[in-house]
Amino acid sequence: MAQQRFTLIVNGQTHVIDADGQTPLLYILQNDLALRGARFGCGLAQCGSCSVLVDDREVRACITPLAAVAGRAITTLEGVAAWHARRRDLARVPDMHPVQQALLEAEAPQCGYCMNGIVMKSAELLDQNPQPTEEQIRAALAGHLCRCGTYPSILRAVQKAART
């Protein structure tokens, strides 16, 4: 597999990456850019632990080839608060996205490993639909597993984030 040069735009920063274009984005984010938001869970797009936003939509980085996202706007957990501020035209970037803040206040995480996907998917949901019903939240997050069983706390937190 030949190495090629790609331009990757992550959280507003441009990176030049020499790699096999079939390399899943997750491994570039983890190993080349040392980002910790997107993380390995299954490598099969089944669990949501690797979720990032590409052009404002949630995407599974573990099966998305580098070549497919070169030049597009990628947002990771580390940049989701800034992304939110941009989407809502906020004067300043908050410390956390409202969903992160609500999950923290609800003490939702146990091991916390799933929280990347939960935050990214919820951020996408609230961006598309600022006032989702409980059923819409459950449906949106049904593709994001949590093995610790924190779903009830997550649900409360996302509902609260939608209200604020």
Binding site: A34, G112, H144, C146
Partner: protein, 759 residues
């Protein structure tokens, strides 16, 4: 641009070349875990603002009977707490900090926990049985009390005051209000106590507690929500290679292991730097780039021996029930047969439980750098001291030459593949002559787990005309746990061996009727030959869901026969006020109505039901109520609401325990409705989240956790003790809804329709 050197340039330059060798002991200049980021992975922070200051590492664990092993007081009166317990996402680190801060009269912002490390941490035993607070609280309380006594003695001299007149706040000692004061830092900052823990230093009465017993937020969650936390899956060692193991997709029988017949690694020539490494039947690949390591593992062609010896998941329970077993009586009191013959009502309840997987949300991962003189392994073992012994034996080094550091990963709920992957990393590092990082892929973790073993249970219960239990007989069929990690087994270092017969692997006398006063009891284990089955180990509340599923359905059968409300039936039989307490608490929280007519809620084809159950694991007291819905046409069961009440003695941090109950209830819903490891005659076939589904957000019930606080009782486990109760409550709710009893879980639509045939 993209090379392993570039990657490692992004990471701190700790590690490999910094090994110092002093007095034969391998010492790492700084904790790698602590270096990885300012916060550090595996670093269990008290407050993030407090810098982590660690003592010099040593190759033998500090003695568990010395104050200095647990506590270091710094010049600024802040404290580093060393404990032997792993943070697995359950939040106990916060509880342990509360305990130490309470006894020392510190603020929670003045104390921080050190990472778990064989070269830093006292050995308090592994992080098992939800017992970190149960075992840790007396030890840490005693160490802190001893320290406080010494500090007050020093302060009395310094302030020229009577010890009895001294008071402490935030680590500052005063003789009287507004008078002179001296801080812990001024008294002993940076020096050692050099004291044994006598257990005789005065400790606070629970009425004096201001931190213990109060809700306290965890300090580690902000990092986990923002990407600052470095999980073990995200740690890197400078100069390391990425590695993957190569195994058959899904395990065969434990005793069969996996035997290589033929290997062809010619395809690796086209993958830069990829190498196949092998010891006997243990295979792995290394490569400088992670994606190349993944591709390399797939590119190697291996022909494995495939003995078709398994009973298949469909034929499992019939084979278990018919097997030649090794039997022992766990408990016998009175004569159950005579008592049952004279009873007003007698019932029999059978039940089967499947293999269930730990299935941690992130597959296990480990990093290792094994050199000829010694080595470092970073892993997520629940017992770093035991892991070190296993790794040392595998790589042929004395245990004290191996340093094992704990790195926090995803929740594990028992013995998943964390020790297996640690051994794989150590072995691959040794074979490669380089530091390596081994990340199990999803199929490795799902397919080579040490599963929670399956169970066949038969209960025969009898009561008198007033609903008082008079006879309780339980027979359980199961196999013991697997002692040898897959890596050691495949590498030829150790043959498949079962755990010695410790009690927790068999019929649990606490869950099987132990919460009731019953004159005649007989509990019998029928132990299966484990090498013929899948690998097994403890999975959160081991076997308890199965025991309660059988036992508590039998109690309900008696209640139905005698037309006694199921909660009232249990009230008449619980053996003490603590069982009565959780039963009453859950009845109150769920607004249990004894007059309600069963099975008359919902509509004609979607029936609603409500059930109650009691249960525990090794200690503590759990009670649960379940509201469920059964679709008679589709066989779909939906759990609407689970209530769980837990009496775990003095609960140090009710907030984390509420979250533990929430997780227990949701995980129990998942295990009762969905979770089952499937296998054919050759191998396990449940290899991912499609083959092994778990509960999702769209089907998640509402949950109501209830902590029954007992400020004057000792603290006991709180991580698994409502699960058995909830499993039973769900089963009893099913009967309430349908008038039929399930005899096997999970409650898949096919099984439900089979059970409902006549409805």
């Amino acid at each position: 641009m993209r090379s392993p050197e570039t990657s490692s340039d992004l990471l701190p330059q700790a590690a490999r070349r910094d090994f110092l060798r002093a007095g034969g002991a391998l010492v790492v200049g700084l904790s790698l875990a602590a270096c990885a980021t300012p916060e550090g992975s595996g670093v269990r922070s008290g407050m993030r603002a407090l810098p982590l200051r660690l003592r010099e590492p040593q190759s033998t664990p500090p003695a568990a009977d010395r104050v200095d092993s647990f506590l270091v007081i710094h010049e600024d009166s802040t404290v580093t707490l060393y404990t032997g317990f792993a943070e697995l996402g359950q939040g106990t680190t916060t509880s342990l900090l509360q305990i130490a801060a309470e006894e020392l009269d510190l603020g929670m912002d003045q104390i921080r926990a050190a990472p778990l490390d064989t070269h830093l941490s006292p050995n308090q035993g592994g992080t098992y049985s939800s017992a970190s607070v149960q075992r840790g609280r007396p030890q840490i309380t005693a160490a802190a009390a001893e320290a406080r006594r010494a500090l007050l003695a020093l302060a009395a001299t310094r302030l020229d005051a009577d010890v009895a007149r001294l008071s402490v706040a935030r680590g500052r000692v005063r003789a009287r209000k507004g008078g002179r004061s001296v801080s812990y830092g001024e008294l002993i900052g940076g020096q050692r106590f050099e004291l044994s823990i006598t257990g005789k230093a005065p400790v606070k009465a629970s009425t004096e507690y201001r931190l213990v017993g109060q809700k306290h937020k965890r300090a580690d969650l902000a990092a986990k929500l923002t990407g600052q936390q470095v999980y073990i899956q995200q740690q890197r060692l400078p100069g390391m290679l990425h590695a993957r193991v190569i195994r058959p997709r899904g395990q065969a029988a434990y005793g069969a292991g996996a035997r290589v017949l033929r290997v062809d690694d010619s395809a690796l020539a086209s993958i830069p730097g990829a190498r196949l490494l092998r010891r006997n039947d243990f295979l792995g690949v290394v490569a400088p780039l992670e994606w190349d390591a993944i591709r390399a593992a797939q590119a190697v062609i291996v022909e494995w021996e495939s003995p078709p010896t398994l009973p298949t998941s469909a034929g499992l329970h019939a084979q278990m029930r018919a097997a030649t077993t090794t039997d022992n009586v766990v408990l016998e009191r009175g004569d159950v047969r005579v008592a049952a013959d004279e009873a007003a009502a007698t019932v029999v309840q059978r039940g089967n439980a499947p293999y269930q997987a730990h299935a941690p949300f992130a597959p296990n991962c480990a990093l290792a750098d094994i050199q000829p003189e010694g080595g470092l392994v970073i892993c997520s073992s629940q017992d770093v001291h035991a892991a070190r012994r296993g790794i040392a034996a595998l790589v042929g080094l004395p245990a004290e030459k191996i340093r094992v550091q704990f790195g926090e990963g995803a929740g594990t709920y028992g013995h998943s593949c964390y020790d297996d992957v640690a051994q794989a990393a150590a072995l691959l590092s040794q074979l490669a002559g380089s530091p390596v990082r081994v990340q199990f892929m999803r199929a490795d973790e799902h397919g080579w787990d040490t599963y929670g073993p399956p169970h066949v249970g038969e209960a025969r219960l009898a009561c008198d005309a007033n609903g008082r239990l008079v006879a309780y007989e339980y027979h359980g069929w199961q196999h013991n746990w697997s002692l040898v990690e897959t890596t050691s087994q495949l590498a030829g270092a150790a043959p498949a061996t079962e755990w010695p017969p410790v009690a927790v692997q068999g019929v649990n006398a606490l869950v099987c009727g132990g919460m009731y006063s019953i004159p005649s009891v007989k509990l019998v284990n029928h132990r299966l030959p484990g090498l013929q089955y899948l690998r097994g180990a403890w999975l959160r509340s081991p076997l308890d869901l199965a025991f309660a599923f059988v036992s508590e359905q039998a109690i309900d059968q008696l209640a139905v026969q005698l037309s006694i409300d199921p909660v009232e039936m249990r009230r008449r039989n619980v053996k003490d006020e603590r069982w009565r307490g959780v039963l009453d608490a859950v009845a109150e929280a769920s607004q249990w109505n004894a007059a309600r007519v069963p099975g008359r809620l919902g509509n004609e084809r979607i029936r609603r039901g409500r059930g109650v159950g009691l249960g525990t694991h090794l200690i503590s007291h759990g009670a649960s109520v379940a509201d469920i819905e059964v679709n008679l046409d589709s066989g779909q069961v939906r759990i609407l609401h689970l209530y769980g009440a837990l009496d775990a003695g003095l609960v140090v941090n009710p907030l984390t325990v509420e979250h533990q109950i929430e997780g227990q209830l949701v995980q129990t819903a998942s295990r009762m409705l969905l979770e089952e490891v499937h296998f054919d005659a050759g191998r396990v076939t449940s290899l991912d989240w499609v083959g092994y589904p778990i509960l999702r957000m769209d089907a998640c019930p509402a949950v109501t956790p209830v902590v029954v606080q007992r400020m004057n009782e000792r603290s006991t486990g709180a991580g698994e003790e409502t699960m058995a109760a909830a499993a039973a409550a769900i089963a009893n709710a099913f009967f309430d809804a349908t008038g039929r009893r399930m005899e096997q879980f999970p409650f898949t639509p096919e099984r439900v329709l089979e059970t409902l045939k006549a409805v």
